[in-house]
Amino acid sequence: MTAGAGAMSLATTARWALREAKGGLRHFRIFIVCLAIGVGVIAAVLTLNHSLTRSLEEEGQVILGGDIAVEMRHVALGPSDVSALEGVGQVSAIVQMRAMARVPDKEPALAEVKAVDDAYPLYGRLAITPDQPLEDALAAQGDAWGGLADPTLLARLGIGVGDRLTLGSIQVLITGTIETEPDLASDGFLLGPRLLISRAALTASGLAIPGSLMENQYRIKLPPGADLVSAVDKVSAVFGDKGVEISDRRQGAPGIERFLDRTTFFLTLGGLISLIVGGVGIATATYFYLESRTETIATLKSLGARQGDIARLYLLVLLVMGTLGILVGLAVGLAGAYAGFSMLGGELPFRARFLLGWTPLLYAVLVGYLVVLGLGILPVGRAARISPAALFRQVGLSARGRVQSGIGVVAGLSGLALLCLVMLIAPRPVFALYFLAGTAAVGALLWGIGTLMAGTFRRLPRPHAPRLALALGNLARPGHTIQIIMVSLGLGMSLLVAMAHLRASLGDELQGAVPENAPSFFLTDIRREDMPRLEALLDEAHVEDFNSMPMIRGRVTHLNGVEPEIDELDPDGRWIMRGDRGFTFAAEPPRDTHIVEGEWWPADYDGPPLVSIEAEAGYALGLKPGDKITINVLGRPIEVTVANFRKVDWSTMAINFALVFSPNTLAGAPYQYLATVRVPPAAEPALATKMGGAFPNITIIRVSAVLAEVSALLGKVMSVISAAAGVTILCGLLVVAGATAAGFRQRLKETAILRAIGATSRDIQWAFLAEFLALGAVVAVLALAAGTLGAWFIVTFWLEGTWSVGWHLAGWVLVGVIATAIAFAMVSYRHAMRQPVTAVLRIP
C-alpha cells in the first residue's frame, strides 16, 4: 500500500482481513456464539416447520382419510347422494360421536366413538394390537360387537383386551387396542380416548338418532390419475347448499395446520428475541474488538491507510467471523430441528418425515448476514475514523459519532432488509411487527434506564465504607457496561417473569377462577322421553343446580336474503355462519338474559318465527332487530326475523346459545336436551356412575376433566415459550459474560493496583459482590416491573381474562438473578485474584 495511491486491492484487504481474523478470534467468541444461537433458532424453527408442513401435505390423503371428504353434522346422506359420490370414486362412510363407555360398578368414561364401514381406511394403515383384519376385529361375536379401543380408555375403565363394555344398548367386546390411527389428525381436539366400532354396531347401540350430536363423514378415494379439482367441483355440485362441508387432501387437517402455524409463530418470536439479545452481544463484541484494534488502526493510518481501506478491512473481518457464526448456527439449528422433530414425532397424530429445505436455511443465513451488517457496520465506520493521533494519546473508539454516508446507508438498508425478512418469515407479520416494536421499546427503555443509572452512580457521593466505595467506583466507571447488562439480561428475565404471571393468570382462569357456580357436568344427547326420569334422579341426588335447554342442529345460510362470503365476514360473527350450530328455543328469556336491543317475545307468541341473537356476533354480522336471517334445519329453510340482541357472558359456563328462537319456529323438529348439573366435587364420581348406569345414551362430560386436559395443553404451550425465554436468557448471560470479559483487562489492572496499595482479598471480594448484586437487583426489579406490566397488558387487554399474579414463580426469577449476580461476582473475583500483582502491573 502506498499513501496517495488508489484503494487497497481486494486481495490485499482479504489477506490482511484473514490475518486480523485469525489473531482476533478470541475477541469473537461471544460474537460467534450469539450469532450461532440466533441463526440456529431461526434455522431450527423454520426447518421443523418445513418438515411438518411438507409431511402434512404429503400425508394429506391419509390424514383426511381420502382425497375428498364430505361431512354432515346432523343426518346421514340419502342413498341418491351416496351413489352420486360413488360416481366420483370409492366411498367410505364414517360416523363420529361422543358417548359413555360403561362397565359395571365403575364410573363411566367418555369415549370418542368412531363407527366405520368395511372400506375404512381408504388410505394409510390402522395399526392394532394384536394384529388382525379390521373386519374381524369389529365383527359381531355372539351377543356382542367387536371393538377396538385406545389403551387409555381401557385403563380408565379398568378392563383389558377380551373384556366387554357397554355402549348405549349394546355390549362391545374389546378385540384389540389401537396403536396408530391414520386419520386422527383431521379429527381436531378430542375430549376422550377413541373407541372404534362398526357402523352396524353404532346403529344397534341406539345412540345415533336424529338430534344426536354426531358427525357423518364420507371419504372418497379417487381413481388413479383423476383430477382432484374437477372431482371437488363435481362433489360440490351434488350438494349445492345442503349444509355439507367439503374438504380435500390439500387441507387435510386445518386444526393441525393452525397448531403448527401458532407453534412456529411463538417459536419464531422466541428466536427473534434471542436474536435481539444476541444482537446486543454481537454489537458489543464488535465494539470491544474494534476498540482493541485502535492502535493497529492508528498505525495503519499513520502509514497511509485511508478510511475506506480500514472500513473494508474490518468489514471483511466481521464477515469472516459472521460466516463462522452462521455455519455453527446452521449446524446447531439443524441438530436442534432434528432433536425437536424426534421429540414431537411421536406426539403428532400423523406420520411426519424430517425433511431438509433450502429455503429455511437460506432465510437463516440471510438473517445472520443482515444482523452482522446491520449491527457491525456502524462500529466499523467509527473505527475507520480513528485518528492516527491515537498513537500519541489515549483515544479510544467512540460508541457514538458520525460515520461515512455510505456506511450509514448500508446500515439502514440492512436493518430494513432484516425487518422485511422477518415479516416474510413470521406467520403473522403484523403481530410480529408489533411484537418486535414492543421488544425494541422495552430494550430501549432498559438501555435508557441503564444510562440513567450509570449517570446516577457517577453523581452519588462516595460512601465512607471502603468496600462500597470501591463497588460504586466500579459501577460509575465510564467504560462500565451497565446498559448492555440491563438490555441483555433484562429482556430475557422480563419475558420469564411475564411467563410466570401468564401461567398463573391462565391457570387461575381455568381452575381457580372458574365461576363459583360453574357446573360439574355437561350432559348432551338427553332424549325428550328421558328428561322426567333424569330430573327425578337428580332430584333424588340433591344436586345443587340443574339447568336444561332443548337443542337442535342447524345452520345459518342467509343474512337478509343474501348468502354471504364467510371469509369476508367480521371474525366476531363469522363463527355463527360456519357449519352447523346448536339452536335452542324458549318461550321465556333464558337465565341471566340481558337484552341490549329489541324486545323478547310474549310467552304465548304464535306469530312469524323470531330469533334472539348474541349481541356481539349480531353486530359483527351487521344485523339489527327487524332484519331477517335464514336457517336450515334438517334440510328445511326457515326465514326468521331478528327480535332482539342479548348480551351473553360465556365465562359463567352456564348453557347458552348464540341463537334462541321463538318456540313456534322449530315446532315439530326432533330435538334433544342439553343440560348442566352442579354437585359438590366429592359427589361427582358417584353421580356420574349413577347417571351412566341409568341413561346409557346420555353423554356425560365432566368439566373438571376437560379443564385438566386444557390445563395440561396450556402447560405444554407455556413450557415451549419458557424454553424460548430460556434461550434468550442464555444469550443474555453470554452477552453479559462477554461484556464483563471485554472490560476485564482494565478491571484486572485496577484490582492489582488496589492490592498493591493495601486492599485485602475480602475488600475486593465484597466490592465485586456489592457491584454485581446492585446490578442484579436493578435488573431483577426492572424485569419484575416490565414482565408484570407486559403480562398484565396481555391478560387484561388481549386475552380479556382475569389477572392473577404469579409471585411464586416471579420470586424464583428474582432468586435466579441474585444467584447469577453472585456467580458472576465470584468468578470475576477469583479470576482477578489469580493474577500476581507484579505480572499485571508489569513490574520486572
Binding site: Q746, E750, A756, I757, G758, A759, T760, S761, I843, P844
Partner: protein, 232 residues
Amino acid sequence: MTVADDYTVADYIAVDGVSLTLSSRAGPVNILRDVTLTIREGESVALLGPSGSGKSSLLSLVAGLERPTNGSVTIGGTRFGDLSEDELALYRRARMGIVFQSFHLIPTMTAIENVALPLELAGDPAARQKALAELDLVGLKARAEHYPAQLSGGEQQRVAIARAVVHAPPLLLADEPTGNLDGTTGHGIIDTLFSLHAERRMTLLLVTHDMALAERCQRVIRMRDGRLQEAA
C-alpha cells in the same frame, strides 16, 4: 497481624540471603541471587543498575508483592514470610507507599479519588479532605476532579506520589519514578519526593538507573545480574 517493635534503627529493612527464581519456558531464570542488605530507618537509599539487573524485583520483594524463593525480608521487625497475602496487604495499607514507573492510577477515578483510596480502604472518614490536602501539597489541588487521561505524565506521577504518602507511611518505595518523564518534569518529581522524605522522615528506597538521581540519596547500592555489587 501484629507489627513487632523489637527492631533496631539500623536494620529497619533487613533483606537476608534472598533469591528469586522464576520459571519460564526456557527453564528457570534467576532474578535475584543471595541478596543481603539492611537499611536504616529514615535513610534514603538508591538501588542503581542497568535494565534486568533485578532492582525492581528486589523492590517488589520489599513491598511484599512477590515472595522470595529463598531468604527472608523483614521490615520494622515484621517477617514478611510469616504473613498471608491479606496481612501483607494490610501492612502495605498501614506502613508503606509505592510509586510506580507507569504511575498506575485507576483511570476511571479522578485524581482526588485515586489519592483517597488508601485512606478509604482504611476506613478513614476524612479521606477526601486529607486527599485534597495532599494534592495541594503536590500542587494539583486545581486538578482534583480530573481523570488521569486529562493529566500530563508529570501530573499523573505527582498524583501517584500523593496517593503513596497520603496515609503517612514510614516507608516509601519508588520504582523508576522518573522513567516515563522528561528531564525537567522528572527533576520536579524528584524534588517532591526528597522534600517529602525530609519533612516526614520516611525511609525511602528508590530504584533508578539514573546516576545523578541516585546520588541525591544518602546511600547508593549497585546491582548487576541479580547480585549486589557493593556491600550494603
